[in-house]
């Protein structure tokens, strides 16, 4: 028991959810809620187009209790986790290989940049044919969507390696592997994390887009299903749920970023 107390004390304020909420950051959501409520109160919009906050809240509670929301959300979440982590591994390793070798860069970069402008969702017909209508195609679309922002940022980050460190590693005869792990990647980490955060956003966009278009599972499917039945409140619950879980995952990435990037102070504005 004593250990638990000590651990609790040690990690108090260490996790973002136990940190005291900065009141500044709740002003805007609260204001939006008030505006929403006023619009409903004045009867400016039909409830079928925009239900009241209370209604959305009520439906949200029902959907949580019945397990419907969690079921759909977890299907999408697993797809995002699978697709995003595969994309991250692929993009970081390819980015490092292309960034470290001028020859490989010349060989591969043109082709990769040619594929980049193709919208991920445009891959869906092909992905369904290749990997089936449920898991395979969804995960594939997420990989396509999340890959490019991560890859581009990793490459850009490596290009930012300062020449003063390049000279240093020459003088010290540092091996290529240690140049990558001790100089190039740590220096590129701010870029890599910018890419990961953008990529995670793309992953959610892609999974919802893919689920909206095809299949019978996931939060995207839940949205089309609700729209078909003109259940606007369920549509809103689904959208808010995506926003919330996306934000939560982004916060986790930021937390990891602060742990991983060492010896640097982050500028937070005035």
């Amino acid at each position: 028991m004593e250990i638990v107390v000590r651990l609790a004390k040690k990690y108090k304020n260490k996790f973002f959810f136990t940190r005291q909420i900065k009141w500044n950051s709740v002003i805007l959501p609260f204001a939006l809620l008030v505006i929403w409520q006023v619009i409903i109160f004045l009867g400016l919009v039909k409830p079928i187009l925009l239900p009241s906050p209370q209604q959305v809240m009520k439906v949200a509670m029902e959907m949580i209790v019945s397990g419907e929301l969690i079921r759909h959300l977890s299907v999408s979440l697993i797809r995002v986790l699978e697709g995003f982590s595969l994309a991250a591994i692929l993009a970081v390793s390819l980015g490092v290989v292309l960034g470290m070798s001028a020859v490989v860069f010349q060989l591969a970069n043109g082709t990769i940049q040619l594929l980049r402008p193709i919208p991920p969702i445009a891959w869906l017909p092909l992905a369904i044919l290749w990997f089936g209508i449920e898991e395979g195609s969804k995960v594939f679309i997420i990989i396509v969507g999340a890959f490019f922002p991560i890859f581009t940022n990793v490459l850009d980050g490596i290009r930012q390696t300062e020449s003063k460190y390049v000279e240093l590693v020459k003088v010290l005869e540092i091996s290529r592997w240690r140049i990558i792990t001790k100089v190039v990647i740590p220096g590129a980490l701010p870029f890599i994390f910018a890419g990961l955060r953008t990529g995670l956003g793309y992953a959610w966009m892609c999974v919802v887009a893919a689920e909206l278009s095809a299949g019978m599972t996931g939060i995207g499917y839940m949205l089309t299903d609700a729209r078909a039945m003109i259940q606007t409140d369920r549509v809103l619950v689904g959208m808010l749920a995506i926003g919330a879980i996306g934000k939560l995952m982004d916060m986790m990435l930021q937390l990891i970023e602060k742990k991983v990037i060492k010896g640097k102070e982050f500028y937070t504005g005035k």
């Binding site: 003063k164 240093l168 003088v171 010290l172 005869e173 990037i261």
Partner: protein, 244 residues
């Protein structure tokens, strides 16, 4: 090769092009440095003294002439020749200890710990192993950089205005530290500076470079054990100053 010509620079010239204009940075430099000698190279900024060091160390291989260190023609940078840059160039994401072990090759963990401690001690630092570079003052960071450049025991250490960015008091202290290291480690040192006092205080010999193109204008032999308060020191300073 003998100890008198540990570093031998023969007819070294270096020029580069800036927008169709040929700039001669160094012209016909001939300089020999004996083993365990401390040579100061002095000159106004832009006279090519940093370029000279970069060539000796192997970072710049585009030149005409010959540069021989320890009997071998310099073809590239490497461990036998250490370099201290004007800025400390510590990796900001590594701690002091990690920055020093970064320079080490194939050493066991205990050896690393011992070497870090030994070389931090040599530059007069204790208890900073776990600090990140941003937590250090300029002088402390430069001392860590010097420790890092020495940890592989290079035979030749090149110093490119190593104290240029430090305040006057820290500078004086660092000069003493450098002198102590030179005596203790028996490293051959070639230092570039724009500070006449520093050049005399540290060097066995002061080489004066003239400006565009950089050529050796004059060399001064510094008597052993000379101190700032000596009249000989002041005389030497005036002499060099007049040649500038």
């Amino acid at each position: 090769m003998n100890d008198e010509n540990y570093v031998s620079i023969q007819q070294l010239s270096k020029s580069y092009q800036i927008k169709n204009r040929l700039v001669v940075a160094l012209k016909n430099i001939c300089l020999c440095v004996a083993k365990h000698e401390f040579v100061s190279i002095i000159g106004t900024s832009g006279c090519g003294k940093s370029t000279l060091l970069r060539i000796v160390c192997g970072l710049d291989t585009d030149y005409s002439g010959k540069v021989i260190v320890n009997g071998n023609i310099v073809v590239g940078a490497g461990l036998n020749c250490g370099m201290v840059f004007q800025e400390h160039r510590l990796l900001p994401w590594l701690t002091v200890a990690e920055n020093i072990t970064f320079a080490l090759h194939d050493k066991t963990k205990t050896e690393k710990v011992r070497l870090v401690e030994q070389y931090l001690d040599l530059v007069g630092l204790q208890g900073v192993e776990g600090f990140y570079p941003k937590q250090l003052s300029g002088g402390m960071a430069q001392r860590v950089a010097i420790a890092r450049s020495l940890v592989n025991k290079p035979n030749l250490l090149l110093l490119d205005e190593p104290l240029g960015a430090l305040d006057a008091l820290t500078r004086l202290k660092m000069q003493q530290i450098l002198l102590r290291i030179w005596e203790k480690e028996k490293t051959t040192m070639l230092m570039v500076t724009h500070d006449i006092d520093e050049a005399i205080y540290l060097g066995n010999r002061v080489v004066l470079l003239s400006e565009s193109p950089g050529t050796i204008k004059k060399e001064f032999l510094i008597p052993k054990g000379i101190d700032r308060s000596d009249t000989a020191f002041v005389k030497m300073r005036d002499e060099i100053y007049h040649e500038f």
